[in-house]
Subunit: 240 residues, 2 copies
């Protein structure tokens, strides 16, 4: 047993951890794409399958944690390697949360599928496409230790926030003009917020990839686009 | 240098990590209480100070991570001790996010302070009190490795969810009847959601404390109270 462990190299251990994270990234991206697809098709059955599929991400996150602890206990890695493992754990936690947001979109889709469509949600598929791509690209950046690619993802978050701010405003106006549509509109509002949060999390992953590769934080102020928390007239808010 | 490190015991290292987490818990709890207070007083200046004070939590989380990596590199702890350190990191990340939710409440308060009060927000201070208490109690449970106390926190999350569901429904009705109040009501809705998420995160910490002390997950199905994602008639949603 111990023999087998020591024969396997630390690099191989790390590769295994990275492979779990790569798998999680693939599932998270697919869950976002499917959730937006189910919303557009108004397909409640598909949405229910998406809710169920989220369990895979929870299980993989637990696997990543177990593996990370096993690697550290077995190898007693030094600071740089340790930091890489801890980063892996943080990324897997972020991917698990991205999955939660996709799941929440699917839950709300089961309701929206049965109601009159809310008009301003046309912008949602576009936002969904951007964040799914951000998740894909940031995982590629992680796999290839590609700082430029990570930076590009980080910068794209501004677009997501702009879309969100604009949608927030349209939705509030729409609700004002169509009070009978307030309940479905609220779901669309929370869906938009979920997508905006996915963008934030992809951005967080980009920051980790950048830090791992360069040893320093991204040197620009983070593009702060979600300003809806401060909107007194339709729409503005960021959590970070 | 190395001498000083080796003289200091592993227990002392751990105590230091736990002390940072205790500090974070104290700040997170105070931020929640202050955010609700500022909301009730409609005090925008106080809200702005709360937004600024969040930086302390971000800095402490970074400290916790640095310390954890230093302890692991220095001590090469075995699996059980490692798990304890990793748990500490997870708890500090959850506390940092709890701080983000309190900050977001404060941001929205700067807007709400200047608008006509939204009527159904009377339930918010009650929810705020419960989650601030949950954060305090779960940190006490962590400090004392107190499984019973952690379980009690875990069970209280149901009340928060019940409050949230009820508020969600009241708010949608209120918005329908007072369309000119849709914008502030939306902020109250997101504030309620933030509080509900704080409850979820306190519950996550309770699960970690339980797992650390017993080696097993909490043996009941998690009380799932936020059902608003599924509400077609005013109000229903959980992310996890």
């Amino acid at each position: 047993m111990v023999q087998a462990h020591t024969v396997k190299s630390f690099d191989e251990d790390l590769r295994q951890l990275r492979s779990i994270i790569g798998q999680m990234g693939g599932i998270a991206e697919a869950q976002i794409v499917s959730a937006i697809d189910a919303l557009q098709r108004r397909d409640a059955d598909m949405a229910i399958r998406i809710v169920q599929a989220d369990k895979a991400l929870d299980a993989l996150e637990a696997d990543a944690e177990k593996l990370a602890i096993a690697i550290i206990a077995r190898r007693a890695p030094l600071a740089d390697d340790l930091r890489e493992i801890i980063s892996g754990l943080k990324i897997s936690a972020l991917l698990e949360r991205i999955g939660d947001y996709a799941k929440n979109i699917a839950k709300r889709t089961t309701v929206l599928a049965a109601t009159t469509p809310v008009q301003p949600q046309i912008i949602i598929p576009e936002m969904g496409k951007i964040v799914a791509r951000m998740v894909k690209d940031v995982l590629d950046a992680y796999a290839g230790r590609d700082v430029e690619k990570a930076l590009a993802v980080w910068q794209r978050d501004k677009d997501v926030d702009d879309f969100y701010n604009s949608l927030f405003r349209s939705l509030l106006t729409y609700m004002f003009e169509n009070p009978q549509q307030i309940t479905p509109s609220t779901h669309v509002l929370f869906i938009a917020k979920n997508i905006e949060r996915i963008g934030d999390h992809a951005t967080n992953i980009a920051e980790i990839v950048h830090y791992n590769a360069t040893g320093s934080a991204i040197d620009t102020d983070r593009p702060k686009g979600d300003v809806t928390a401060y909107v007194s007239n339709p729409a503005d808010d960021s959590e970070d």
